[in-house]
């Protein structure tokens, strides 16, 4: 059963520290999304990639967030420096991006708490 793997599952860090979240998309999927979910804002799109190329990262605070895909099996989202308002669940999702009927698959998320 193919799945999207995210690490770590939980992260508690102090304000000002660097945080790196990792995502392993499903093998063969060429589209990867990063979302942030909070009670107030719901699911917000931060960035997404197609064939490892960044297509849109306008949802990210550029001064502190960065997203990369160093290879087809790894996507990373980095926050430096972290702030308490970054506390949220960060989801990665992958798919084929061709309108095939099964949509996009989400990972289990990284729950980030910045204190």
């Amino acid at each position: 059963d193919a799945r999207v793997t995210q690490t770590p599952r939980h992260k508690v860090t102090e304000m000002g520290q660097e945080v790196t979240m990792r995502c392993q998309p499903i093998l063969g999927h060429n589209t990867v999304f990063w979302y942030r979910q909070t009670m107030m804002q719901g699911l917000e799109l931060l960035a997404y990639f197609r064939n490892r190329a960044p297509l849109d990262d306008s949802g990210m605070p550029k001064d502190r967030f960065s997203a990369e895909m160093p290879d087809a099996t790894l996507a990373t989202l980095k926050i430096q420096p972290s702030e308490p308002r970054d506390s949220a669940v960060y989801f990665c999702a992958s798919g084929l991006g061709t309108g095939v009927g099964y949509g996009y698959t989400f990972g289990s998320g990284t729950r980030l708490t910045v204190v």
Binding site: L45, L55, D56, G101, Y104, F106, G107, S108
Partner: protein, 112 residues
Amino acid sequence: EDKVVQSPLSLVVHEGDTVTLNCSYEVTNFRSLLWYKQEKKAPTFLFMLTSSGIEKKSGRLSSILDKKELFSILNITATQTGDSAIYLCAVEIKAAGNKLTFGGGTRVLVKP
């Protein structure tokens, strides 16, 4: 700006009731509309709709899309407590690699 709006925000029903959830959208270059169910963890995929008027069905869940009026509905019949979840609607936009934008979700609570 692309918009996806879901209603109601939340609802409470009793087992056996039928639930209808709404999703309206205003986007450029529409490609598809997707429904997800989110319980405690990650959203899980329910349906993808691309054509108007064709109902997609899975057990007690069904969904249909109206591309003229720009909305979709998700129906759940004979609800069970296991249907309690947040239901999310997302629109896939046919531009620069199919951007996926979510609505705010509808929280459904099914009481025994």
